[in-house]
């Protein structure tokens, strides 16, 4: 069987084509750093890569959300600390006022101070973060606590919220955020449970009876009535103005406990948020690693392969050029 010129050239051509195609592929891998540039490069890796990318995006989102939630909780805690301080100060004043040496003008001053503290409490309860009322439940654009125009100190009834000095205009829904896949955490407290001692379930029924247990109190009622009692100097007459300083001091303790327990609930939730954030950061590293394994090219291997291919290319080109050097026509 003879070897014709065409055979030789055809063989050279197909070999050069093969080598240059492989070289192009390797160079592309080297330049992009990816070994998965088109689906046909590795069809089996397509699904893991797309799924991992989705998870990475979600992970970023969770980090953002936990940051958000953590910030909100920290700010809320600040206000709760303020409430604690107010209650402590009111108790001090109350104890002071029971001192029999106080005259009417001293008591008036103390009562005014309580009124001032009550205003501070009102300001805290209507706190705004980022343009939204934080103690208003879902109704974040509505001022949650306003004065009740129909308030009459003589008609005060602890079992009927329409007789209370301040009314609540927000709603009873705590905001949930998703901090890890499938885990929803309530990140705030509602005005009714914090300041009025009405649980969210009771508020949901819309009844006017707050159903206060032995551990709940309405902070505004306590402060208002304490002010009335101090102003009137009513120390222990329960049916007198303000329902007596003694009774209200007992209520103050209840109120402070209510505040503290809610604050600790919020605190433990904040700790949960922190640990979720840490976990997401760790997960991120793992996900990036998985993604890299499927789609990144091993650069050292790629460069080695490029060197090998380039050598093969040079050899093939060399041979191709030598083919035409030798010809029978030189010898004739």
């Amino acid at each position: 069987m003879k070897v014709t010129e065409n055979t030789t050239y055809r063989l050279m051509k197909s070999n050069l084509e093969r080598i240059t195609t492989e070289l192009l592929d390797l160079r592309n891998q080297g330049a992009t750093g990816l070994k998965l540039n088109r689906p046909s490069d590795d069809p089996g890796a397509v699904r893991p890569v797309l799924t991992t990318r989705t998870q990475l995006q979600q992970n970023e989102r969770y980090l953002d959300t936990t940051g958000h939630a953590g910030d909100k909780m920290a700010a809320t805690d600040g206000f709760l600390a303020e409430v604690e301080n107010i209650l402590v100060r009111v108790k001090e004043i109350a104890i002071n006022s029971v001192n029999g040496a106080m005259g009417p003008s001293d008591q008036a001053n103390l009562a005014d101070e309580i009124a001032g503290l009550k205003d501070r409490l009102l300001a805290s309860s209507n706190a705004i973060i980022d343009g939204k009322y934080i103690f208003a439940g879902f109704k974040e654009k509505t001022r949650p606590f306003t004065e009740n125009p129909a308030y009459d100190p003589a008609l005060y009834d602890a079992t009927d919220i329409t007789t209370w000095p301040y009314q609540y205009n927000g709603d009873h829904n705590r905001t949930e955020l998703e901090i890890t896949p499938g885990e929803f955490l309530e990140v705030n407290l509602t005005g009714n449970e914090l300041f009025m001692g009405i649980s969210n379930q009771t508020a949901a029924t819309g009844s006017t009876d707050p159903q206060h247990g032995p551990a709940s109190a309405d902070l505004f009622s306590v402060l208002t009535r304490m002010e009335e009692a101090v102003r009137a100097g009513n120390v222990d007459n329960i049916s007198g103005p303000g329902g007596s300083i003694q009774a209200q001091m007992a209520n103050l303790d209840i109120a402070a406990d209510q505040n503290r327990s809610l604050r600790s609930i919020l605190g433990s939730k904040a700790a949960r948020v922190d640990s979720a954030a840490l976990h997401q950061q760790d997960a991120r590293i793992d996900l990036e690693q998985i993604l890299s394994r499927y789609q990144d090219a091993d650069m050292i291997e790629v460069f080695n392969d490029i060197l090998k291919q380039e050598t093969a290319f040079r050899a093939a080109l060399n041979i191709s050029s030598r083919v035409s050097d030798i010809s029978i026509l030189d010898y004739f």
Binding site: N6, R38, V46, Q57, T65, F138, E140
Partner: protein, 473 residues
């Protein structure tokens, strides 16, 4: 003296034959690079010997035939391989295009889906914010546009395949006609006893080209004419008559028809081979499959988002608002057309239903700006909902992309294999019937020396004749 004239004649034949042989060698050399050329050689035979009393003396040499070297087996192998090569080659370009449409970069429908659900998640942290609401609408539009574009691209690829087919039809028809004409010419030449070498070479080349484009098979009948027919048996060239293929365009779809003997028949990828079969196969089977999968994805996505969105309350306390347009086949649960017609129907950010449905009452409640319950549910549909109970949205899309990837990588492998095989076969053919420069040069020397020695013989005979004539002065 009479003997000497015979010798003269003998020498003359020798000179002629050697000259002719050198011409044939010259022809071989000049056609060194002609595609499909088979080496021609002269078949020499002696003149019938004449009786000189007791013995026979040959009368010289003549060229009985100029024949071409030919191997039927290799020819057939090459035609068969060309069919497969044509098929894979035609698939290559459309599959590359499909890989571009269904890619694995950071810019595909999967990323659009992720960003869309992400925008709902962002909204859940601050449901009253108009900017975030507008962002949700925007991401929805990006997603819908992604689906629209994909559906359109699939259509574009289909129509460029149609264009490709149309452009090849004319050359295929011309080739069939040429084969018929060559049949006629070869027949009329060979009836005189000669072989029509270059015409046969040309015909073989055309048959190979038809094998590559149509998967046509050919065989030579008793009269030396090449009969060409499609794999299914439908005739393309019979004797000196050639059929023709035409493209029948109805609406947006293109069908091929074969006009044979007054009957027009529809032909498709099932009774063709080669390039046409490849193009039709991808246009009629593979791409419609991809289309229906994308439609399914768009349908399920639109419907699920819509159902959940309708179950929520917008900022203006209305409920039952659609987010996407319902797919055209919604009532009949048909997927077709969902991807191309997907669009966002909400324009007012207030209408986004981030909150839960308001209580109809009495008294009717309103949706508060901080209500994010529906947004939370919507953002998790991407993770929770399984289409047909098996695939989430992203994994269905990943399946589609992987299908394209598998098909494309298989095609690349097959194409490489077919190409390598074809190269080997062509080289083998060259080894049997090709023109080798070394061979021709050696033959040239051979016939040149033959010519020289004939010339020498002639001059010797001439001298002998001269001697005889000079016997008498």
């Amino acid at each position: 003296m009479a003997g000497l004239f015979d010798s003269l004649n003998s020498a003359r034949t020798s000179l002629e034959v050697n000259q002719k042989s050198i011409e044939i060698i010259g022809n071989n050399i000049s056609n060194l690079n002609t595609e499909g050329y088979s080496r021609q050689k002269a078949l020499l035979s002696t003149y019938p010997a004449m009786n000189f009393g007791d013995f026979f003396i040959g009368q010289g040499v003549k060229i009985s035939d100029v024949s071409r070297e030919h191997d039927v087996f290799i020819d057939r192998q090459i035609k068969q391989k060309s069919v497969e090569f044509g098929f894979q080659d035609a698939l290559n370009r459309p599959l590359s295009d499909l890989e571009r449409v269904f890619n694995v970069s950071n810019d595909n429908i999967s990323t659009d889906i992720d960003t869309f659900f992400d925008s709902w998640q962002k909204l859940s942290a601050d449901p009253g914010d108009t900017v975030l609401r507008n962002n949700v609408i925007l991401q929805g539009q990006v997603l819908a546009a992604g689906f629209n574009n994909t559906a359109n691209e699939l259509n574009t690829i289909k129509s460029s395949i149609d264009d490709s087919i149309v452009s090849r039809i004319e050359s295929v028809n011309m080739q069939m006609q040429e084969i018929a004409e060559l049949n006629d010419r070869i027949y009329s030449i060979e009836i005189h006893g000669q072989t029509a070498n270059s015409a046969r070479d040309q015909r073989d080349l055309l048959a190979k080209s038809l094998a590559k484009s149509l998967g046509a098979q050919s065989y030579e009948d008793s009269k030396g004419m090449l009969a060409v027919h499609l794999p299914g048996g439908l005739p393309l060239v019979q004797g000196t008559m050639s059929m023709s293929i035409s493209a029948n365009i109805s609406g947006s779809s293109l069908n091929l028809q074969l006009k044979a003997g007054g009957v027009t028949r529809d032909i498709g990828s099932h009774n063709m081979g080669g390039e046409f079969a490849g193009l039709l196969d991808i246009r009629d089977n593979f791409i419609p499959e991809l289309n229906s999968e994308i439609d399914k994805l768009a349908y399920e996505l639109s419907v699920q988002i819509n159902l959940q969105h309708q179950a929520g309350g917008s900022l203006d306390s209305t409920t039952g608002n659609l987010f996407f347009s319902m797919p055209p086949g919604y009532v009949a649960t048909e997927y077709a057309g969902a991807a191309r017609q997907m669009s966002v129907v909400i324009t007012d950010p207030v209408k986004i239903a981030a909150g839960a449905t308001p209580d109809p009452g009495p008294p009717p409640t309103t949706v508060a700006p901080g209500d994010n319950r529906n947004a939370l549910t919507l953002s998790n549909i991407g993770d929770n909902y399984l289409i047909d109970g098996t695939d989430s949205f992203n994994s269905l899309y990943a399946k589609i992309v992987a299908t394209v990837g598998i098909e494309s990588s298989q095609n690349q492998l097959s194409l490489k294999g077919a190409k390598d095989a074809l190269v080997q076969l062509e080289n083998f053919r060259d080894g049997l019937v090709g023109v080798s420069l070394e061979e021709e040069m050696i033959s040239l020397i051979q016939f040149q020396r033959g010519f020289e020695s004939s010339a020498k013989f002639l001059s010797t005979v001439d001298e002998m004749m001269g001697t005889i004539i000079n016997l008498k002065k």
